[in-house]
Amino acid sequence: MSGHTAREVDLSVDLGSLELSNPVMSASGTFGYGDEDPELTQVRALGALVTKTVTLNPRAGNPPPRLCETPAGLLNSIGLQNVGIQTFAREILPRLQDLGPPVIVSVGGSTADDYARCAEILDRVECAALELNISCPNVASGLEFSRSPAEAAKVVRGVRRRTKRPIFAKLSPNVTDIVAVGRACVEEGADGLVAVNTFLGMAVDVEREQPVLPRVVGGLSGPAIRPLALCRVWELARCLPCPVIGVGGIVTARDALEFLLAGARAVQIGTANFREPARGAKVVAGLRTLLDEKGVNRLRDFVGRLRLPPTEVS
């Protein structure tokens, strides 16, 4: 490993019209709204901050227990507990602007119209972009939008009409053909895709003979899903022209490089924050070192440069 600090590497990337100083973001729902203990989380080091998902009306979230650790993974059933878009836009969002990184607001909803109305409200305040969470497995109808291209398209279309801000659609991996859903989003004007949200999973309490989570199923995240997430990102990046933001099980800078090589323009850190709230900052630092060691001066030149085998032998 080279001894000198590698400040020179240009980590900036662009996601359509949105320029980031580096490609590392927080993943929605794993970093509070973004302003929890900025010193502990070192939020300032991030390329962008993604808020937890905000919905039109406040939501209580799901009953506990909401979490269950599984091998190298975490099953969650949070259920989008949040203060609602009004309170968020008025009280929380302004605070986030002072943290440093551009703020991407994650928006959720039960109908396409919910999303559109949130977009309208956000259009009147300051924020860098919208991430459309059409893939939450933990709320009624949360997944539906992202499980059919037509439904996904409807959400994006509604939002596109109400805002000029960049829109990123966050996709569910629980589908037969993620590219079809992604394509539908892009055709309706999404500026980029975020892949992936959590995988539908379940755990059983063998002593009590009941599901661990009261809603029975939850969403699996963490290193366990990394190979699965990476595969979805590669498929999307290969088939669609828009920026793809990779998320799923990323812990180290090396993990992030896997996604960047596979074509992700940026990455998000989720579950890893729970063990180390400053994980994102460490990944940024690690990227500098690793790219410098590789002799890469600009991350832009590196994205997607995975060499495929000469012939895919069947």
Partner: protein, 292 residues
């Protein structure tokens, strides 16, 4: 009465294990050395720990044996030389506590904290500190602190059977000990002991223990018009309000959003009235079985 507040200097750091010994049936005391400027910590707060090696850059795909940290109440905080020394008392119930049990002195543990709310200290009241099973941990710290500040209190400590009692040292004096099976102390539960507490006590009740016990203590205090604070447990994801995993059914909030408290941020120490005990019980409160 001083309101509970949140410690405001949470860090992650590598602690050295000074000691790790069994002190009672399935109860272990871990002593950890931290930098001198760690904290400040107060009774009621917790640390969130992991015995896993640090996630190094360049370790291909290493997720370690456990993904998340595990929370433990501070059972004591002191200073030795230029180090802060903290103590936790833990029961072995699963994967990480099993790993912890095997850690020898000089090994390391990664510690995030101190985090969470604190037990309020009312200098005017003779408080009742009530610990059930391994729930005694934060009350040992609180009692030691009250003792140091010469504030009156009575410690009530209940277990299922006498072998489960952690040694109380100087705090044993005047403590009311109960064992459910009558194998020592009073036969019965902490509620039976509370009936025997000094008459002047009780203006403030501080409790930690299994869900059923907490609920009973809260009811007992409520019926007598005492203020009751409890230290609660749920499965934690992060311990620092990032994940929303530690929800506890709440009462008395104003609106939909307030149906749950977050045990790591609004707690672990909360006023008993804030908790919707019945809803929580129905969900099967997460307190793990006290046995291994």
């Amino acid at each position: 009465m001083i309101e509970t507040g949140q410690g405001d200097h949470i860090t992650t750091c590598r602690a050295e294990i000074l000691g790790n010994r069994q002190v009672a049936r399935n109860l272990f005391r871990l002593r950890l050395a931290l930098p001198s400027d760690w904290g400040p910590a107060e009774p009621g707060q917790f640390v969130n720990v992991t015995p896993e090696p640090a996630w190094e850059e360049n370790v291909p795909g290493d997720a370690g044996g456990s993904l998340l940290r595990r929370p433990f109440s501070l059972a004591g905080v002191g200073h030795e030389g230029n180090r802060t020394v903290i103590e936790i008392l833990y029961a072995v119930v699963g994967k990480v506590t099993r790993q912890m049990q095997r850690l020898p002195p000089r090994a390391h543990l990664d510690v995030l904290g101190p985090a969470g709310t604190v037990f309020p200290i009312d200098p005017g009241a003779h408080s009742l500190l009530v610990g059930g099973g391994r729930g005694i941990a934060p009350l040992l710290y609180l009692a030691a602190e009250q003792r140091r500040r010469k504030l009156p209190f009575t410690l009530v400590y209940g277990v299922r059977t006498a072998e489960e009692w952690a040694p109380l040292g100087p705090l044993a004096r005047g403590a009311l000990l109960t064992a459910e099976d009558g194998s020592g102390g009073l036969r019965g539960t902490v509620i039976d002991a509370l009936e025997q507490a000094p008459a002047e006590s009780g203006a403030a009740v501080m409790a930690c223990g299994p869900h059923g016990m907490l609920h009973a203590v809260a009811k007992w205090a409520h019926e007598r018009g005492h203020t009751c604070w409890v230290s609660v447990e749920e499965v934690f994801g992060c311990g620092v309000a990032l994940c929303g995993g530690c929800a506890i059914p709440a009462r008395g909030g104003d609106g939909e959003y307030d149906r749950y408290l977050w045990a790591c941020r609004d707690g672990p120490v909360v006023r008993s009235e804030r908790i919707d005990w019945e809803a929580w019980r129905q969900l099967g409160a997460a307190t793990p079985p006290a046995g291994p």
